[in-house]
Every structure is written in structure tokens, then in C-alpha cells.
């Protein structure tokens, strides 16, 4: 447990020294959300209908962008190897890193989402469901994305390759996350979608760090 907290605190401290990187993902989310009305037209009815999908895809892409920061800096300066050699189980350390990553990328996206929802004319209950779906969904995306980030460590063209690897795996989260918001928008029950999303988060949170640790060991050999 203490190893978890130690790594978590370390990552947070390091990231706060490079605040710029944290804000990039957030601004990317805002820009992407702004692009769609520009591309499709400002008609409120259309925007309201497509808002759940767009906001979720935007959050997904922004989350993807920030994955490059998860392991690469530690890999480059050798601290990742130190972590792999340490006494604490690597999956625990990985879980700590992913949690820190989420606190710095997924959580800000989630907190910002109501503002963007306003731009799309979503009502308060729908905004609430959006917020909730992102709160559960973004950690899920972080855990899945971490495996991809570990697999592509130090690989040529890693960033683009990472997107290709991870986006298909993101699809279930996308379907149920945006599905929950759409359900609320249509006045239907969103409980089922949220339950499935939470179940996926539990699975990913449990198995993800384990698969990720394996991928890291493969990369470090």
C-alpha cells in the first residue's frame, strides 16, 4: 500500500512541475468539442443529439493523447527499470502510475465536461449522466490505454501505433459510456449502461495492471 502511495505522490509531484502537459490534453478536448459544431453546423437540435457521442469521442482522444506521458519519461531516465526491480509487485506500482495519470488527465476532462455540455445545449440531468459516465469511463480508458502504452514503449512511431492498438479496445467503453448519456437524453433508463461500465472498470482495474506489468517486463528486457 505504501509503495502505491509513494509512486502516486511521486508521479503527481513530477507532473505538477510540468503543468503544461497536463493542460494540453484538456485543451485538446475543448478544441475537438468545438470543431464539430463548426463542421456540422450550429443547429441546436442536431448538436444536442450528437453531443453524447462527440463529447465521449473527444474525451477518448484526449485521454489517448496523454498516454505517451505515462511510461515514456520513466523509461527514458531508467526509473522504470528501478521500479521493475524493486521489492513491491510491479502491478501495484503500475496501478499507482495509472491512477496518477487519471488524476491528471481523465479527472480534469470529467470536471470540464459540464461546460462543454452547455455548448451543446444538454440539460442538467443529461449533463449529470455525462459527468458520471466520464467519471467511471476515463479511469477505464486509462487502464486499457496503459497496456498499449507499455507495449509500444520505445518503439518507432509509437504514438500513432498506440492509437491503432488502443482505439479498438476502447470501443466497448465508448458504446456504453455514450449510450448511457444518450439514454438519459431520450428519457430512458441509463442504469444498465452504467452498471456495465462499472463492471468493465472493475475488470480493467484488476487485470489491466497485471497485463501492463507483463508488457513492461517485455519492453524492459
Amino acid at each position: 500500500m505504501s509503495a502505491f502511495m509513494a509512486v502516486l505522490q511521486r508521479d503527481l509531484r513530477l507532473a505538477l512541475r510540468r503543468k503544461g502537459e497536463v493542460l494540453t490534453a484538456v485543451f485538446f478536448f475543448v478544441v475537438v468539442a468545438t470543431l464539430f459544431p463548426l463542421a456540422i453546423g450550429p443547429e441546436p437540435e442536431t448538436l444536442r443529439k450528437i453531443a453524447p457521442g462527440i463529447l465521449w469521442v473527444g474525451a477518448m482522444l484526449a485521454s489517448l493523447l496523454s498516454l505517451g506521458r505515462l511510461f515514456a519519461p520513466d523509461y527514458q531516465d531508467g526509473s522504470l527499470e528501478q521500479m521493475a526491480l524493486s521489492q513491491a509487485p510491479l502491478p501495484v506500482l503500475v496501478a499507482a502510475k495509472v491512477t496518477a495519470h487519471w488524476l491528471l488527465s481523465g479527472l480534469p476532462l470529467t470536471l470540464l465536461s459540464p461546460l462543454l455540455a452547455l455548448q451543446f445545449g444538454l440539460d442538467a440531468p443529461t449533463m449529470g449522466v455525462l459527468w458520471l459516465s466520464l467519471l467511471v469511463g476515463t479511469p477505464l480508458l486509462s487502464f486499457i490505454g496503459a497496456v498499449g502504452a507499455a507495449l509500444t514503449l520505445g518503439v518507432r512511431g509509437g504514438e500513432v501505433l498506440l492509437s491503432l492498438l488502443v482505439l479498438p479496445l476502447y470501443i466497448p467503453a465508448l458504446v456504453f459510456g455514450s449510450g448511457a448519456v444518450e439514454a438519459q437524453l431520450s428519457g430512458l433508463e441509463y442504469g444498465a449502461q452504467m452498471s456495465i461500465l462499472m463492471a468493465m472498470l472493475l475488470l480493467a482495474g484488476f487485470f489491466g495492471p497485471w497485463a501492463c506489468a507483463l508488457a513492461l517486463r517485455i519492453a524492459l528486457e
Partner: protein
């Protein structure tokens, strides 16, 4: 029992697997050819015209087998990857890599023939139904595997990273299919069924099965042939390779 295990592991050495694959692939190729002839004969000269779809339905004799193969090969890749992680044999990674191109090809063919089947039947080249959409995502998974293994220079790392990706992908495929199916029913999308409306005549089913077996034999032949090239490439420093190519 111990003897049996040792016997099996003997084949796992690239040096033994190379000639074994060399002896086997021609048989599978021949089997594929025979099954194809039988299947095509049955499909084109015995199976009757479909009541609803006319002659256009005959595409299913390649479309459905290609779909089945695309999924089966991915499972085979995951299986070999699992073997590789459990027993740490080099040949497992090579087999996974040997299977991938054929799997990707069948996924592509499934999508392409699906489009050619869909256009005359339902009027559009593409339909966002659960099966086709899942097939498209499977294609992305294949592309991801091939891209990852090509990008990593060290063959051992490429094998292991690819293997892990294949395993993670295989675990995710049911989840992806389930979510796509749910998405489709919710939005009341189209549902293209192979057997929609008409009941499959016996001969149609048999032709489809024969073609599926033909594709299966073809895949095995292709993978065994391809793994030989991979073995030579990887093991080219070994004395036995030099004796083989001299």
C-alpha cells in the same frame, strides 16, 4: 507421460519444426484444393436458386467461410501466444506471426465480399450491423498486431509484445462483439442475416461447410509455409540452417 511431453517438446525446436512444416504444408494445400473443388461444384452446380435472393446469395460460399476463418485464426494466434507465454518456446511467437497475414486477409475478404453481397441485396455497400461492424473492428485488431510486430526490431520482443496484444485482443473480442450487438439493437440498426427469411437448403449448407474447411486447410498450409521463412530468417546463424541452404 514424461516421455510423451518430451516427444511433443522436441517438435517445438525450430530445427525440428522446419522439416515438419515442410512435410505437412503440401498435404494441407492439396486438401484445400480438393475441398475447394468439391465446395464450388456443390455450390454452383447443385445448390438451387434461392427463393428470395436469386443467384446473388452464392457469395456466401466465400463470405461466411472468410468470416469464420478471420475469427478462428485470431483465436489460433491467441492460442499460440498463450503457449508461448506458458512454455517460453520460440516457435510459438513465430507461428503467431505466421498466422497473422492470412487472418487479416480473410477479415478483409469478409468485409469486401460482405459489401458485394450487401449492395444488390440491401441496396448499400455498407451496413452498420453487429456482425459487419465487429468484423471491421477485428480487422483493426489484426492491423494493430501486424503494425506492432513490424515496428519492433528485436524479434523476441516483437513476438512477446505481439503475443500479449493477441491475448488481450482475444479476451476483448467477446466484449467488443457484445457491446456492438447491444449498440446495434438499441439503435434498431439493420440486421443482415445469412439465413434471413429463407431456410438454408441442405446443399447450400454443405457447400458452405466444404468451403469453410477448404479455407481452414488453406490457412494451415499458408501458416506452415510462412513459418518456415520466419524460422530461416531468425535462425540463420545456426549451423543447421547453413546446411539446409547450402
Amino acid at each position: 507421460m514424461e516421455n510423451l511431453r518430451i516427444r511433443w517438446f522436441q517438435w517445438a525446436a525450430p530445427q525440428s519444426f522446419y522439416p515438419l512444416a515442410g512435410r505437412l504444408w503440401p498435404w494441407f494445400a492439396a486438401l484445400a484444393a480438393v475441398l475447394t473443388l468439391a465446395g464450388m461444384y456443390l455450390g454452383f452446380f447443385v445448390a438451387p436458386t434461392d427463393f428470395q435472393q436469386g443467384e446473388g446469395y452464392r457469395i456466401i460460399f466465400v463470405h461466411v467461410p472468410a468470416s469464420w476463418m478471420s475469427m478462428l485464426i485470431y483465436l489460433a494466434m491467441a492460442f499460440w501466444a498463450f503457449l508461448g507465454f506458458t512454455f517460453n518456446t520460440r516457435i510459438s511467437g513465430m507461428m503467431t506471426q505466421a498466422l497473422a497475414p492470412t487472418g487479416a486477409m480473410f477479415t478483409f475478404l469478409s468485409l469486401w465480399t460482405g459489401a458485394l453481397w450487401g449492395k444488390p441485396m440491401w441496396g448499400t455497400w455498407w451496413v452498420w450491423d453487429a456482425r459487419l461492424t465487429s468484423e471491421l473492428i477485428l480487422f483493426f485488431l489484426y492491423m494493430g498486431y501486424i503494425a506492432l510486430t513490424s515496428a519492433i526490431d528485436d524479434p523476441r520482443r516483437a513476438d512477446r509484445a505481439g503475443g500479449l496484444l493477441a491475448l488481450v485482443g482475444a479476451v476483448n473480442v467477446p466484449i467488443i462483439y457484445f457491446s456492438v450487438k447491444w449498440w446495434n439493437t438499441l439503435h434498431q440498426g439493420a440486421s443482415v442475416s445469412v439465413t434471413k427469411g429463407s431456410s438454408m437448403a441442405q446443399t447450400m449448407l454443405w457447400a458452405m461447410l466444404l468451403m469453410a474447411l477448404a479455407f481452414w486447410a488453406y490457412s494451415i498450409a499458408m501458416a506452415l509455409y510462412r513459418v518456415r521463412g520466419i524460422i530461416l530468417q531468425r535462425e540463420r546463424h545456426a549451423r543447421w540452417v547453413q546446411e539446409v541452404v547450402a
